[in-house]
């Protein structure tokens, strides 16, 4: 018994090491979403000039993808060609939430990169809607089912690979 007490430090070190090993394989900068499988937060955003706005009612009755972006966001430009390609397939409508942007900047940015969004709601700072959606950075995207419930959240840019192997199957399943 007494000997066991002396071996306690070794046991603690080994236990801690096990946690660390697991911890090394978790990306610490990803914050797990809490809103998945919950109804999409109440949304009522005016449209970017020349575009339709985004309301909660617009998310009902069909499957959709909601994408939070901004013209100031470098990674959004990286993701954008993928979104444009998706919009051309007509599988699912993509709705945009333009975060903390000047309308002129956003319009110019969309002109340069193309517009995949069927609706674009503007959420200027302080972005109450973006916070309500639990967004931490741009780009982030959500898949919404036909009852307006969030079924999937992507943190970071959508890549073709993510789309084809993760998001598209979810969209298809929800559309069944």
């Amino acid at each position: 018994m007494r000997r066991l007490v002396y071996l306690l430090p070794v046991i603690i070190v080994l236990g801690m090491a096990a946690f660390f090993y697991r911890g090394l394989h978790i990306n610490p900068s990803i914050i797990p979403p809490v809103l998945v499988n919950k109804p999409a937060p109440p949304t009522d955003l005016p449209g970017l000039p020349g575009h339709k706005g985004l309301k909660t009612a617009d998310l009902m009755g069909h499957v959709s993808v909601v994408d939070v972006f901004g013209s100031w966001c470098f990674a959004c430009a990286e993701e954008h060609p993928t979104l444009v390609a998706i919009s051309k397939t007509d599988v699912v409508p993509i709705y945009g939430i333009d975060w903390a942007d000047k309308p002129a900047d956003a319009i110019a940015w969309l002109k340069r990169h193309g517009n995949p969004y069927a609706r674009i709601g503007m959420d200027p700072s302080p972005a109450r809607t973006v916070v309500a959606w639990g967004v931490t950075g741009a780009p982030e995207s959500f898949i919404i089912d036909r009852h307006g419930i969030i079924r999937y959240k992507r943190i970071g840019p959508i890549t073709p690979d993510i789309w084809l192997h993760t998001m598209l199957p979810i969209v298809r399943e929800l559309q069944q």
Partner: protein, 665 residues
């Protein structure tokens, strides 16, 4: 070419470390003196080789050799010379090289200063030190090599994070590493003693100066980091309970405990197993800190870029060294000859034991808070945060009883003490402490909200006065003629001075900690030129803004005149800097200390014609923090210079005692 020499020297150093790890160990077990002696020579050679590698990297950084990947990633032609030099340890690879350089420096120091060490203990200590070296040198070469080339070489580099281009940040890592890595010596001594199966007073005497040196450097490093945060982050905070900070604080707490428990081993032949354990844990926390900061397992503002492969490697080293040492401890500790020093609970030993319990609990609490989010996530419990409010409400109260004990502990005699009599000698401190609590209470309007501030100031006063009374008693200050006190002051062992300085310094730090947290006043506004803003009783008048140019940035610089009761107290020049490469803005706060606190001004962006956003603070008692930290470090050095602690002391001290010339030279 020089880069390749550095690379080659590092490989050779690894080979030498392997020899140093094996040969002296075998020599010690066989009693072969020649084999044991290999340790000392190898330690010196190993250091020289690693130092060559270090200089080679410095050469590449200074000459901006953009064919070296490490330089490309961390430098730029715009970078001033000072930061090219300090940039050597500004990157993951370079700082790891500094780590092994310091490790081998300490190895050599043991070899050089430890001439009087028993040959067996010395050989084994050097061997263990080299085992640590082998692991980290291998890591350096395989996973974190600073000497890799790029082909073709780019025309320019990526630049260094401007936040890092700051004298405070540039110079505190070497001190931190001297502290962190310095604890490796205590570790090596502990493991060597376990291999020998003998821990005695002599062992404690050997281990104490090394711990003291590491502790002192660690103190300077931590204070330097806090100072850097205080003036660059621009809102007057100085400690954030960030994982990186905690990583340096945990070994500091344990090293503090070790310093005190080693006294008991040395003087009273007790607490031996515990002291050996502490020596292992102290360096264990250094390894843990290295892992936390470099693996990215906990993201933090200051940590190096995330790389799981490196994380796994460092984790492997952590498990090997710490697990190995603890396993050895588990086998050997039960059979360590129990010391024969008996003592009653109320005694110097008892006080030091309580100090140890509290320090260890404190370190464990910091560890728990730091690692808890990771543990919860690893068991699938989701993601939570453990931030400053947790540490403030758990760690700080845990440490407060220690300050109480600290005031009276040094007055207790060894073995068995009369607590009543000891308390009687510090009656004055108790009276002043209570008076401080009452005065503070009324001064802040008698409100209950800040009751803890009054308590904290009372504790600080208690500790300061009690430490002073203890010193005064030794010097017979005010009781004997001044000349007599002076003579006693000169004769007083430096370690006694060290203790008084350190305890007094801690009192100042505690006062500053509570004062600045409780009574900070601040004001953020759009300030017109010529307008005066009053904060904490000081008037801050914005006199004007002008553009200035730094070596690799341009800046707006404000001029504030600070007055109190119409009298000019300070002129402050805060800057808003815009770096060229990479293009990042930083703020440079302007601070001027007074006895009562710091006046602190930060400049933001323009807010209209002739109007600027300004942030103004009065941080009460903050200068005491730096004076207190300085006293802690000075106390460490004073104690270190005590001839009884001086490395290699026993023989020389005896020689000095017999010589006619008085000791102390």
């Amino acid at each position: 070419m020089i880069t390749e020499i550095g690379h080659f020297a590092l490989i050779l150093a690894l080979a030498v470390a392997v020899v140093q790890a094996i040969v002296p160990l075998i020599g010690a077990s066989r009693g072969d003196v020649a084999w044991m002696r290999v340790g000392g020579t190898a330690a010196t050679v190993q250091f020289l080789l690693i130092f060559i590698a270090f200089l080679a990297l410095m050469h590449a950084q200074v000459t901006l050799d953009f064919s070296v990947l490490n330089v490309v990633q961390n430098s730029h032609t715009h970078k001033p010379m000072l930061y090219r030099i300090t940039g050597v340890w500004g990157s993951h690879e370079g700082s790891l090289l500094l780590w092994v350089t310091i490790l081998s420096l300490f190895g050599m120091a043991v070899a050089v200063f430890g001439r009087n060490l028993p040959p067996g203990l010395k050989a084994r200590t050097l061997s263990v030190q080299a085992m640590v070296g082998v692991g980290f040198l291998t890591f350096c070469l395989l996973a974190s090599n600073p000497f890799l080339r790029v082909n073709p070489a780019p025309i320019n580099g990526d630049g260094l994070n401007p936040l890092l281009q700051d004298p405070g940040l540039a110079f505190h890592p070497p001190f931190l590493y001297l502290g962190y890595v310095g604890l490796s010596v205590a570790f090596s001594f502990a493991v060597a003693a376990l291999i020998e199966g003998k821990v005695d007073a002599a062992w404690a005497r050997w281990v104490r100066p090394w711990t003291l040196a590491a502790w002192t450097f660690l103190t300077i490093g931590i204070a330097g980091g806090a100072w850097w945060a205080y003036y660059t982050l621009g809102w007057g905070g100085w400690w954030f309970w960030d994982p990186t900070e905690n990583a340096s604080f945990m070994p500091w707490l344990i090293a503090t405990a070790l310093l005190h428990s080693a006294i008991v081993v040395e003087k009273r032949d007790s607490m031996k197993g515990w002291t050996v354990l502490l020596a292992i844990i102290a360096f264990g926390f250094s390894l843990l800190g290295t892992f936390l900061v470099r693996s990215g397992v906990l993201t933090s503002v200051h940590s190096f870029a995330v790389d799981p492969k490196r994380g796994v490697y460092i984790l492997g080293l952590l498990v090997a060294y710490l697990g190995g040492a603890f396993a050895l401890y588990g086998i050997r500790a039960p059979s360590l000859r129990l010391g024969n020093g008996l003592f009653s609970p109320i005694s110097r030993e008892g006080g030091l034991l309580l100090n140890n319990v509290l320090m260890a609990t404190g370190a464990a609490t910091v560890m728990l808070g730091t690692l808890y989010p990771l543990i919860v996530q690893a068991v699938g419990g989701g993601k939570i945060s453990v931030g400053p409010p947790f540490f403030d409400s758990v760690f700080v109260p845990l440490m407060m009883p220690m300050l109480l004990v600290l005031g009276v502990g040094p007055l207790l005699s060894w073995k068995r003490a009369d607590l009543g009599a000891a308390l009687g000698r510090v009656k004055l401190a108790a009276v002043i402490a209570i008076a401080t609590v009452i005065i503070t209470w009324f001064a802040q309007g008698g409100s209950l909200r800040l009751w803890w501030a009054a308590g904290g100031m009372g504790l600080a006063a208690w500790l300061a006065i009690a430490s002073f009374l203890e010193l005064a008693e030794r010097l017979r200050l005010f009781r004997a003629p001044l000349a007599e006190s002076w003579r006693r002051a000169i004769r007083l062992p430096r370690s006694a001075w060290g203790m008084s300085l350190a305890h007094g310094g801690l009192a100042l730090v505690v006062a500053a900690m509570f004062g600045s947290t409780a009574w900070q006043s601040q004001s953020v506004q759009n300030q017109k030129i010529g307008q005066t803003v009053t904060v904490g009783g000081y008037g801050f008048t914005l006199k004007g803004i002008r553009n200035v140019k730094g070596p690799n940035y341009s800046a707006q610089q404000a001029t504030f005149v600070v007055t109190q009761d119409g009298r000019q107290v300070a002129v402050l020049h805060p800057q808003q800097r815009h770096f060229v490469m990479p293009p990042v803005p930083t703020t440079d706060a302007a601070i001027q200390g007074t006895v009562f606190g710091d006046v602190y001004a930060v400049l933001g962006g323009p807010a209209g014609p002739d109007s600027w956003v300004t942030r103004i603070y009065f941080n009460p008692l903050m200068p005491w923090m730096w004076v207190g930290a300085g006293m802690l470090a000075l106390g460490g050095f004073a104690s270190l210079s005590d001839r009884r602690h001086r490395v290699g002391a026993p023989k020389r001290a005896r020689a000095a005692a017999t010589a006619a010339h008085p000791a102390g030279a």
